[in-house]
Amino acid sequence: MLRILGSARRFCDGASRRDFLQIGAFGAGLTLADMLRGGTAQAAAKKQPSRSRKSAIMIYLPGGPSHMDMYDLKPDAPVEFRGEFKAIDTNVPGVQICEHMPLQAKMWDKLACVRSLVSVDEHSDTLVMTGYPDRVNRIAEHPSFGSVVSKLRGEDAGAVPPFVSLRGMSRGTEPGYLGIAHRPFTPGGQGNSNLRLANGVTLDRLEDRKGLLGAFDDTRREIDATGSMAGMDAYTEKAMEMVTAGVVRDALDLKKEDPKVVERYKGVESFLTARRLVEAGVGCVTLSIGGWDTHGQNFTTLKRQLPQVDKGIANLIQDLHDRGMAEDVVTVMWGEFGRTPKVNMNAGRDHWSPVMSAMIAGGGLKMGQAVGASTAKGERPKDRPYSVPQLLSTIYRAMGIDPSQTFNNGAGRPMYILDEREPVKELLG
C-alpha cells in the first residue's frame, strides 16, 4: 500500500532526503513541470510502480445524524434513551440496525459501521473532510481529503477532474495549503459550464479556432525553463478533449443512464451521479443529503430521511458490486457528531460529540461488521474508541495513500496529511 511513495521501502525512516526528492516528483511535490523535466509525462508514469486508481465517495449528513437511531440502536435502554425505532437483524448475525434501513440490513455483508467514533462539537464538515477540527483549521489550513487525492493524481488525472463536490464549496472541501488548483470541481459552478461549448460557439467553430491557434502559437516552449509553457500545451490538448468528448459532462447527465436505473435512485439521484463520476475516473466525489440537526421532531424527520438514505446507499453499493468496482471504491457516510442519547422535551435530540457512528463500504476493507461499541445508553465509546481522523486514515490507506506523507505549507514546513493516523484495525482485516 505504501508503494505509492515510489519506493518499496516500508520503514518509517527508510527514505533519505534524496529518495524524498524522487518521491516528490511522483507524489508530494508533483507538478507538471517536474514531470516534463524528466521526459514526457508518459515516460515518467512508466517509471513508477502501478499507482492506485481507487476512488472514494464521501457522503456527508449535515447537522449531525442521530447514531442511536441509525447504526447504534439500544433496544434495551430506557425508553427516553432508545426512542421510537426498533432494531432489526441484518444478514450478518449479531449486527442490528434501524428498522427504517431495511435495504442495508439485507446487504450488511457488503457494509460495515464504526460505532465508537469520537468527534468534536462543531457544526462543520471540516473534521470529517480534513481530519482536523475547524478551530485548528482556521489557522492551519489542512487540505480536504479530495484535495489530497487531487494533488497526488496531479497531471495524471486524465480528462476528468480528480475531485468533484456535488454539494458546492464548504469549509471542509477547501484545499488549504495545497492551493486553489486543488479545489473541487463543482457542477453547477463555472467549472462545469466550461465543459459545455460556450453559447455562440459550435463544434465547427471551435475546430476553426483551433486551427488558427495552432498557426499563431509558435512560441517555442523550450525557452521556458520552468516547464510551464510545455504544461500549457499539454493542457490545451486535454481541455479540447474534455469539451469535445465530454466524459465528465456525460457522467453528470443522468439522461444518459438507463431510465430503469434512474427510477431506482428516485429522490437520491446524487448517489447515482456519484457512481457515474467514479466510473468516469473521478478520484473523490462528495455529496450530502438531508438535514440532520434534529433538535425537535427527531423521529418524524428520520422516518422521512432514513428510507431515502437507505435507498441511496443500497443502490450505490449494489451497483458498485455489480460492476466489479466494490474493491476500487470506498464509500463513507457520516456527519459532524452524534446526538444526545436522551430524547429531549421536543422529541428531539441535541448535539453529542462524545460518540457517533459512521457507515463505510468497499475499498477492499473488511465488510460485514460493526466495529466498536458505545455504552449501554449510547453515551460514549465503551471499547475501541476511534477518532474521526483514524477512520479517515483508514480510507486514505484503502485508497493507497500513506497518510504520513507530507506536503510543505506556505511557511515551508512539512505537514503530515494526518497527524492522528493509526487506522481502524478491524477494517483492515
Binding site: D13, F216, T219, I223, M232, V243
Partner: protein, 821 residues
Amino acid sequence: MKRLLLTLAALSALSAPARAAEAGLSAYPPKLALKGVEDCPQIVVTETRADGRAFDLSGSATYTVSDAKVARVDATGRVFPLANGTTEITITANGRTVKVPLTAEKMDAPQPLNYPNQVSPIFTKLSCSSGGCHGKIAGQNGFRLSLLGFDPAFDYENLLKETRGRRVFPAAPERSLLLTKAAGIVPHGGGKKMDPDGEEFKIVRRWIASGMPYGNPTDPTVSKITVFPENRVVDRKGRQQLAVYAHYSDGTVEDVTRRAQYESNDTDIASVSESGVVNTQNVTGQAGVMARFNGFVTVFRATVPRGGDAAAFDFKPNTVVDTHTANKWKELNIAPSALASDEVFMRRAYLDLTGTLPDVKDVLAFAESKDAAKREKLIDQLLDTPEYAYFFANKWADILRVKRRNQPDRAYGTFAFHTWIREAVAADKPYDEFVRDILCAIGDESKSPPTVWYKEVRTPENFVDDVSQVFLGQRMACANCHHHPYEKWSQDDYWGMAAFFGRVGFKPVVTPGRAQQNQQNQRQALFVKSTGNVQNKRTNKTADPKPLDADPMLTGTDEDPRAKFADWMTSPKNPFFAKTVANRYWAHFFGRGIVDPIDDMRVTNPPSNPELLDALAKNLVDNKFSLKELIRTICKSRTYQLSAEPTELNKNDKQSFARYYPKRLQAEVLFDAVAKLTDSPTAFPGLPTDKFAPNRAIMLPDESFASYFLDVTGRPQRISACECERVNDASLAMTLHLLNSQEVQDKIARASGRADRLAKDPRPDAEKVTELFVLATGQKPSAEKLKLALEHIAKHEKTKKTAYENIVWALLNTKGFLFNQ
C-alpha cells in the same frame, strides 16, 4: 576525547584559496596527529593544474603508509590508526606525489566517551531521530528522541530511564535493546540500521559498556563546524570529496566527515553521499551541499561550468547588476543571449512594472524612437504611473495578508490598509520606514491603517512567522517546536523574537448604536500594554525579547518593545533586512530569486550569485531604502534587457540570468489583459461603478472579490505570508476557462467590444490584424500569420465579426499573449 589536532595556523593557511593556485598535488590536512583508535580522518587530495583549476583526486590516488603497523589508509583516503607511532603517508596521483606526516598516540587505552559529541550524532546520522521516526513529537512505538538530536540531554534521559531502563544493559552491552533493535537482531520497524561489525555499533557498545557516561560538564562542546573545501568549480560528472570538521569550545578540531549528515539543495546539479562525496551531474549550474553536525550547519558550494571551449562575449555593463552577472557567466563558461527587441522589451517592462499591456500606439512609437536612452527613460516613466503603485501594492497586500474574509465589517480596514500601502509605494516611502510603520503600528484602524496587519497577525507565533518570512527572508516556523533543521536557529531564538509581541493589546472600537460583535471582525484599536510577556515553549519560562543573533533587549513599562525590534531590523547593519527585499524584487523581475525560494535565505540555501545580492542590498542602503531606485538598478541593467531566446551557450541555464526567463502573466494581470484585448472591462461587485472607479483586477484592495477567473489563474487567498501561495503554473481549469468559458466568450463577442468594432472599422484588414497582434503579443505578425488571418477573414466575409472573434480567441490562447517574455 579523540581529537584531530590541527594547528589553527595550518587551517587558515589551507582555507586561503590563493595557496591553491600553485600547480601541483596537495593534501588536506597537511599533517595528522591522531588520538585513539576511533580517530579516523578523511584526507582530501587536490591536484591544482596550470590554469589554477583544482581537481579532487581523493578517490583515485594511491596511498602508501611507510610503517604499515602504525596506520592504514583505505581507497577513499580515510586514515585508520593502528598503533602508537610516527610514520608518513605517501600519496601518488597523476604522476605527482605528496607526503602527509602522521603521529598516532593513545592507541592502547580507549578514549572516554561523551554522549552529545560522540553517541548522539550516530542516531542523527542513521536517521533514528529523523522526523519520520523516533524524532517525531510522538516518538515511534513509545521511544522518542529529540528531532535530529538537538536536545541530547532529553534523549539521554529517555534512553536510560524510560521503560524501566531496558534499552541499555551495561552488564551485557550487546544485548541492550538499543543495539539489538538497531542491528536488526530483534524485529525493528525501522529495519537494520547498524552492522554489528560497524563503527557505530562499536561506539555505542563501548558507551554502554563504560556505564553510559553523559560526559563531564567541563567537556568541550561544539562551537561551529567547517567544511573543506568551502567552494569549488567541479566539472560535469565530476567528484569532490568533502571533509567536515567540528570545532570545540577548547579550541580542538575533530574530523567528523563520516558522522555528519549531508544534503544537496539541487540534486539535478550535484548529489552527495553519506560519506561526503559530492557527485556532479550533467547540468551546468550551482548547488549548495549542506553538512550538519550537532545542531550546526555549513555549506559547500559546487559550481559546475559548461564544458567545451571558453564562451566569449562582450557585455558592457549598464548598472552594477551587469558586472556581477557577467562574472558569474564567465565562471560558468556560458554567454548571455542577445538583447531583446524594442517591442519585446517594452511589453516586458510594462507588464513587470505596471501589470498592464502597453497600447499599440505606444509600442509602435517606442520602436520608432531613435533616442539612445529610450529604454532607461521608459523605466523612469513607468515608475511614475498610478498602475505601478497599484501593481506593487497588490504584491505587498498578498504577503501582508490584506484579507477581509468576506466579513463586511472588515472592509473599512482592508480598504484603508491597501490605500496606505499604495500611497507608500507611489510616494516611494523609504522601505525601512514602511516596515517600521507596520511593525510599530498603534491606534485605531480608522486613523492608523497599518494596524490592520495585526488583524491577521494575532498571536506571538503569527508575529514571528510573518515578520521573519516577509521582512527577514527566514522561515522560522520550524523553531517554534524544535531546533531548525537547516539553520542555527533554536527554539530560544524563536521565542526571543516572539517576546516582542508580548505587550501588544487589542480592544474593539465601539460604534454607537451597533451591537458588539465578533471582535476580530469589528473595528479595533491596537495599544501597548505596560506589562505582558510570552512564554518560551521549550523552557516554559518567560522569554526575554531578543532579535536573531543579537543581545536581549529589555524595555521599560513606558516603552514599546516593538520599537527596539524595528531599530534592530531596519538598521543598515542588519544582515537579512535589505537582502530580503532586494531578492524579492529581483525575483519579481527575473522570475527567480538570487536566493530561491525567495523567503528561505538559509545558510544552507546559498544565493546563486552572492556578490550580486550584496551589491543590490548595498544599493538599497546607499539610497536610503528607495525601492524605486532599486527597481531602476535592476531594470536599467543590460541583464534585464536580454532576450528569452536561449543560445547554444546558455540553453541549460536556469539560475544565472544569462537570458530572460519567461513568466506566465499572474492572475490579476492576465484578467486585465483579457479585458483590454477584448475591450470588455469588468465591474467588480461592491466597488463603485462610475467611470472613475477602479475596474482592474490589479486594483482590488483585498481578496474577497469573487472571481472564478482569478481563482483558476492562481490568485492567492492570502492564507500565508509566502509569495509561493500565488500559482503561476499551468492548470487544466485555467486552460479550460480561457478556451471555453462563457465569461471569456462573452467578452470576445461583446457588442461594441474589440472584435465587433474591428469588424465594422473601414481600415484594411491587414492593418487591423497587425494592430491586434501588437496589442496581444507586443509584436507584428509574421507574413505567414498575417496571410492566414486574412484568409480566415475572407472565408467569413459575410460574418466578419465571427472572423475577428476567432482571431481574438486564438491570440488570447497563445503563449505569446499568456507569457511575459
